[in-house]
Amino acid sequence: MVNLNTIKPKNNRNYYLALGLEGSANKLGVGILKHPILPSHESGDNSHHCQAEILSNIRDTYITPPGEGFLPRDTARHHRNWCVRLIKRALEEAGINDPRNDIDVICFTKGPGMGAPLHSVVIAARTCSLMWGVDLVGVNHCVGHIEMGREITQAINPVVLYVSGGNTQVIAYSENRYRIFGETLDIAIGNCLDRFARTLKIPNAPSPGYNIEQLANKCKNKDQLVELPYTVKGMDLSMSGILAYIDSLAKDLFKGNKKNKILFDQKTGEQKVTVEDLCYSLQENLFAMLVEITERAMAHVNASQVLIVGGVGCNVRLQEMMGQMCKDRANGQVHATDERFCIDNGVMIAQAGLLQYRMGDVVKDLKETVVTQKFRTDEVYVSWRE
């Protein structure tokens, strides 16, 4: 039996307040979240229904020039520079004057992610904790995404497709773990899109994937596709080969290599394929693979709901395709959120962290706050579900 109300909030309030700090990649997020005490939480699996209230959700993204990715060292410097300012702003927005008394718990990303950025954020978390005397909770980034998605969409027990810059996983819950049914064998989908955006030298703001999506929308000849490898392996997939291939096509296109018959008409020398076509084909191909493995997982565990989380989850085309797939299955439903919650943010860390805190799982010694680059989704014991 799950009871989320055993740990009482500070000062006999009837709500909890959590500060969430996220910085596992190039986004620095700070969020403050409020959970009222609900009688429905005394028993039963109601962790998807916390009536969470978002008091502030601030994000600052480290954006590199076109054609460049973000390096760990520079990203960490960005996070160090902005962390204090963002926390101050978040507290102000939430109307918290005295964090010592008002905040129940500080949640930080424990992993997975890039080492240096994780480190700079956890230092801020430790400092705040010592300064204010507030408990700390370390959160798995992926579980943060899942819990936020469940809270926003109220999906009870969905198959989760987690797609972002560093992760591509199909996850389903069973016996207190978020189990991974399928995942990428090499690079993540966001990584694939980002690196292709770098080859195209298109801007990294607001995000490379978004710009690829816009280019794909501009594709004029949607009946034709540039044929790309389709690499689904059971419930897993592989994307490095697709990237290498489409990269080579893009380079040939920029160089004007007329010998390439896919890109240029061999008789007239006319260009057959545009950058927009390449973006469109890449998206269609990658997303078809994602939807296929999701459908496999759904058939395997007999689920009817899908929840899409992670940065790539904002892509409208992906949501559309998932919706179509669900329509063809009995009672299929698709749940997705918008960029505020899809892209890395502090609130999701606060949501998962607060659930953990309410189950009594807090850091007892600063030694436990060491961050880690490798931290699998299924390593977390999900005590707040049944």
């Binding site: 992760n167 078809a288 496999r296 395709m321 179509q324 299955r329 009995a330």
Partner: protein, 265 residues
């Protein structure tokens, strides 16, 4: 199964071929029918049933991707089935007809309904039926034979790709009333491969499937499966023993990998 898909299949098959839906997987829908695609139905006095496996168009993906995948997978499944049917000892359903462009194959119907409402006679339902007396001789014998089937498959350099207890159908042995003969079905992810890696992964997938659906008795079950598997290789002499060691060694390695490495994000 959504009505739209049933309508799509009915339209493709025309109203002359009555169909009864059985199941919907991720990729295909399965029906039974009493009509043979090319033998006149007046010959079908025994009211024999046939399986129609249809891969519906996936509207979510681009029509070009969909067409090429449907064609490729239907064709490769049919090819593997027809090749396997020719090999002595391997039990697979007989391929009757195949239409790769429309994603449709006709197969011989196998199996029956288990007594006491335990459903269709696949290995999964059979093991659940026997859950009260999980280690009886019939179970042992059946699992041993399943292991033999997989051993033969691998020995002939084929891989199944999706070995689960629901992809193994049991057929009553006509000579010995209580015995079951396992048949392998669903070669949608099948391939020909001489790599130990693919075989190791195949065995690992089966082991995981048994553990997740029959967890309490999985140790013994997997032991019997591997026994049957090994005996096929051992019967092939010195070379068989050598290959067996390679496959089992890789199987142990794949198992250690778990589900692969951690990712960053």
């Amino acid at each position: 199964m959504s009505q739209e898909i049933v309508d799509e299949v009915a339209k493709y098959l025309t109203s002359n071929i009555p169909i009864v839906p059985i199941s919907q997987g991720a990729e295909a829908v399965v029906f039974t029918t009493t009509i043979h695609p090319y033998i006149p139905s007046s010959n079908n006095e025994k009211k024999e049933k046939f399986i129609i496996k249809y891969r519906p168009t996936k509207k979510y993906r681009h029509p070009l991707i969909d067409k090429s995948l449907t064609k490729h997978r239907t064709l490769s499944e049919s090819r593997i089935l027809s090749k396997l049917y020719q090999i002595d000892g391997i039990k697979v359903p007989k391929l009757i007809a195949c239409d790769p462009y429309n994603g449709c194959i006709w197969l011989e119907f196998l199996g029956e309904d288990l007594p006491n409402g335990f459903g269709f006679s696949n290995l999964k339902n059979f093991l659940w039926m026997n859950a009260k007396d999980p280690y009886n001789d019939c179970v042992k014998d059946t699992l041993y034979k399943v292991g033999q089937q997989i051993g033969l498959l691998h020995w002939n350099d084929y891989c199944h790709g999706d070995l689960t207890s629901s992809n193994i159908v049991l057929v009553k042995d006509e000579d010995y009333g209580t015995n079951w003969i396992p048949h392998l079905i669903d070669f949608g992810l099948g391939s020909t491969s001489s790599l130990v890696e693919d075989k190791g992964v195949d065995l690992y997938v089966l082991e995981r499937a048994i553990i997740s659906t029959h967890s309490s008795f999985a140790d013994k079950y997997n032991e019997w499966l591997i026994q049957g598997f090994s005996d096929v290789y051992k019967s092939k002499g010195k070379q068989g023993n050598k290959k067996l060691n390679e496959v089992l060694k890789r199987f142990a390695e794949v198992r250690l990998r778990g589900r692969k490495r951690s990712m960053i994000g």
